[in-house]
Amino acid sequence: MIQIKASAKKVTALLLCGVLIATTLLLTGCGKEDQIVIGTQTFTESKIMAEMYKALIEEQTDLQAKVIPDLAASAVIINAMKKNEVHMATLYSGELFNNHFPVEETKDRQEVLKQAQAGFDKYLGFTWMDSLGFENTYAFTVQSKLAEERGYERISDVVKDAGDLRLGVDTTWMERTNDGYPAFRKAYNVEFGQAFPMEQSLVYEAVGNNQVDIVLAYSTDSRIKAYDLKTLEDDKQFFPPYDASPVLLKELAQKHPEVVQAIQPLIGTIDEQTMIDLNYKVDIEKKSEREVAIEYLEQQGLLVKKNEK
């Protein structure tokens, strides 16, 4: 009898321990109440911007921020924001056309941004801030040498040779509905000889090393310059504008207006060349995104240098 009692006690103690451990794990698993989660896509620029937001938020508010890097695409980020798992990110105005809600067809930069701001506010509850000052759009690029030889200036110039050209693109672009490969083929009436879908960050090296002939680059990527590539003009205006803006949950913006205030100084201050230079420091000079972000903020006087504090 005594033995049974003793073992019953042991079991209870063990169970209690188990419950305690489980609850601690659960509690630590759940994010902290005041932590802002910033999501980034796989390319450098969105990571640099996230580090800037984080640094500014932590400097000027009592809140903490955490960066989740390498989310596969904007759709993943937007879904995570809907579920309150990500609170903030950099998004591009052309996102408007990805079937989130009804939109009016237009290619005007201001109009697209305005519609994105109104629509994402109304339908998804996101606060879409004004543009940071740069656009990062899709850009078809070829080696400068090839462009010179064949006189390529615009995408239309390539159409006649497309059958012999090897195309390198991001895997995701093949599947995009409105500005992906199927729609592009129709718009330019073009069919490339071979298409190699791959990870976006590899396309620059691939075209630079002659493994493909033409690639779809991101216009702010510093490797366009590093690999001496020529951007072809989108003469049929196929791609919508892609102005970059910080986007956060409306709930967060209302509850903590200081977050919006902390980021506000960045709005309209980063032009394309600045972003290309910042990307260069990470992609070519191999500095960390965080280092580059903080260095920039310090140069701009938005962040006080650590050693001067």
Partner: protein, 219 residues
Amino acid sequence: MDGWIAFLQERSSDIGTALQEHIVLTGISVLLGCLIAIPLGIALVYSRWNWLTNTVFFMANLLQTIPSLALLAIFIPFLGIGMKPAIVALFLYSIMPIMRNTYDGFRSVDNSVLEAARGMGYSTMQSILRIRLPLALPYIMSGIRITTVYIISWATLATLIGAGGLGRLIVGGLGVNKLELVVVGAVGAILLVLITDTLFGWIERILTKRYGRTSSTTA
């Protein structure tokens, strides 16, 4: 359900291409793996130098521990993008399990059997082909089957370096939030595994039968 049928019809050619690329990727890598690893495994059984056997196995084990994504990335500077680096990476992964199983299969043959064969005047080559290989066959085949299963699953990563395959559907679907594509890519890989495994089962049975007969006639 109708949505699924419409989706499958609309994308059938893409799915077909992806499946075909996937079969080529895995097929060539496993085939190369067999061509290298089986003779290598046999050679190691007969090797007089223990250190050589140990080194080869150490290297093969080491290769196995490199994360597949990293191995794919490592080859880009040397082999560029596309099928070539993907096949080389997958081939390297296939070496260890096939070689290990061949080696163990050959070692599992009882010494007295080999003694008897030698007594009957079998040369080394004859004893390899007529005695050890048939007896080690189940080991070798299980090595090939295991390898094929995980090469099929790892080949889904090859799309990141431009080699295509079912991974193209999975990565593309993930990017634009089309769950159908992800599911089709995954189910495709599962079906491929089931089909090849059944196929290998047949091959194994046929081989065993044949070898059984030849050995009984020669004995």
